[in-house]
């Protein structure tokens, strides 16, 4: 926002700093999951042991946001409320089935993070509303998530694509019981590749040709746009490949966890 002010794009008459509002800096863990106040910074969340231990993909996504200085000041709520499609966090938060709690001061409503950004810089927030907190559900047993951020030019730039894959195995054995595939950064919003994800169910996720078919199907569920980071066809190809890699990485980490536990 300050960059836009310096460039003369934004010239607000009034600016209210809400970052130190005590209601917005909650960061707490409960049996239902994690509640992250909108004013919690990326760095605070990144360093919180509850995230590092339980949500590896989210920890990865957090570390890849900007640089240490951006993460020391930038907040989780600010990241989402800005509505920029190339942000890391919405992709992985959506794959983790997280929800955003919106408040107008007297009432609250809950929106899935998957649907929070409607278009470029356009979110579910209406005038008079504030994003209060993000709720991340507890990771179900025998589940894991992988996040991949792909930058087509330099590491400092915005990504061409972000992909998050969440999978859960059956109570016994290695059969996939549930899956979510979310793609971000390629277009104006997040894309839930749920049709492709259904093809992972009741498989052991060990046949690479089947996984590549899932990647191919996912390409039809995204709507990329041409921009500086890639053409639509480039982004589709990249997403197809990233989805395969995300599934494999999530599965291998999950199997290691399951084997160690058993």
């Amino acid at each position: 926002m300050v960059i836009l002010m310096k460039q003369g794009v934004l010239a607000p008459d009034y600016l209210v700093d809400i970052q130190r509002n005590p209601e917005l800096v909650n960061l707490k863990y409960s049996p239902k999951g994690v509640v992250v106040g909108a004013s919690v910074t990326h760095r605070e969340l990144e360093q919180w042991s509850g995230i590092k231990q339980r949500y590896v993909a989210l920890a990865t996504a957090l570390r890849k946001v900007g640089n240490i200085r951006i993460r020391s000041v930038g907040t989780i709520g600010g990241n989402l409320a800005y509505g920029e499609p190339q942000c890391n966090l919405p992709t992985v938060l959506a794959a983790l089935d997280s929800t955003a709690v919106i408040s107008n001061g007297s009432e609250e409503r809950v929106v899935p993070v998957l649907h929070f950004t409607k278009d470029i810089f356009d979110t579910e927030l209406k005038p008079g509303e504030l994003l209060k907190e993000i709720r991340i559900p507890e990771m179900p047993p025998r589940s894991d998530c992988e996040f991949i951020k792909f930058c087509s030019r330099t590491a400092e730039e915005k990504p061409a694509a972000t992909v998050a894959c969440w999978i859960q195995l059956e109570e016994e054995g290695l059969m996939c019981k549930a899956a979510r595939l979310v793609v971000g950064a390629v277009g104006s919003r997040l894309f839930d590749c749920n049709t492709a994800a259904k093809h992972l169910l009741n498989t052991q996720l060990d046949d690479e040709s089947e996984l590549r078919e899932v990647g191919e199907k996912a390409k039809n569920e995204i709507d990329p746009i041409d921009d500086l980071y890639g053409t639509t066809s480039y982004k589709r190809e990249v997403c197809g490949e990233l989805i395969v890699r995300a599934i494999i990485e999530a599965k291998e980490r999950l199997i290691r966890k399951v084997v160690d536990h058993d």
């Binding site: 960059i3 310096k6 970052q19 640089n67 240490i68 200085r69 951006i70 020391s72 000041v73 400092e156």
Partner: protein
């Protein structure tokens, strides 16, 4: 009509009162109002790290931080590193290891390194690279900066000696 507001800022332990416009950035106020010209503005977008100062011990990009948001907080700039006429161990290490050439990025690099060592007394090579990855230098090629940080950490008596055994990194010269 131009709005002016009086701010109280604590910089390097010293209290200052400054008359500023609400939209002024911290780097502008530090340099042009308070005279702390060690901090440099380069990219103006929070990317390069040259403008890094510490606010409540955390590294921030002063070029995209409104000065009004830092009132009531402790601000540290490169001018505050030396103490009692003696250089900070980081400054000595950067001199010894050639951690700077033109010096333009150096204040920001030093402040980021200070924040790193405050947070992690004995960072590994990967931890140094990750933490310092947001500071850009066009002169040194970064190896000397990393060596200087390791050297400073050792001279502050805290570093694990195992670091010099990291593969692909020569560590201290004999």
């Amino acid at each position: 009509m131009t709005e002016w507001t009086e701010l109280e800022l604590v910089v390097n332990g010293k209290c200052h009162r400054a008359l500023v416009q609400p939209h002024w950035t911290l780097v502008k106020v530090l340099r042009e109002v308070l005279g702390y010209t060690g901090t440099k503005e380069v990219c103006g977008m929070g990317v390069c790290g040259a403008c890094t100062v510490l606010v409540d011990g955390k590294p921030i990009s002063s070029c995209i931080e409104l000065a009004t948001r830092t009132t009531g907080r402790t601000i540290e700039t490169v001018e505050g590193l030396a103490s009692g006429g003696s250089l900070h161990p980081l400054q000595k290490a950067f001199l010894e290891k050639g951690g700077f050439q033109c010096g333009f990025c150096t204040p920001g690099v030093l402040m980021s390194a200070k924040a790193l060592l405050n947070e992690n007394e004995s960072p590994s090579l990967d931890e140094i690279k990750e933490y310092m990855g947001g500071s850009q230098c066009r002169c040194t090629g970064y190896l000397q900066i990393i060596e200087a940080i390791i050297h400073a950490s050792k001279s502050m008596g805290k570093h694990r000696s195992a670091l010099t055994a990291d593969a692909g990194f020569k560590g201290d010269s004999p």
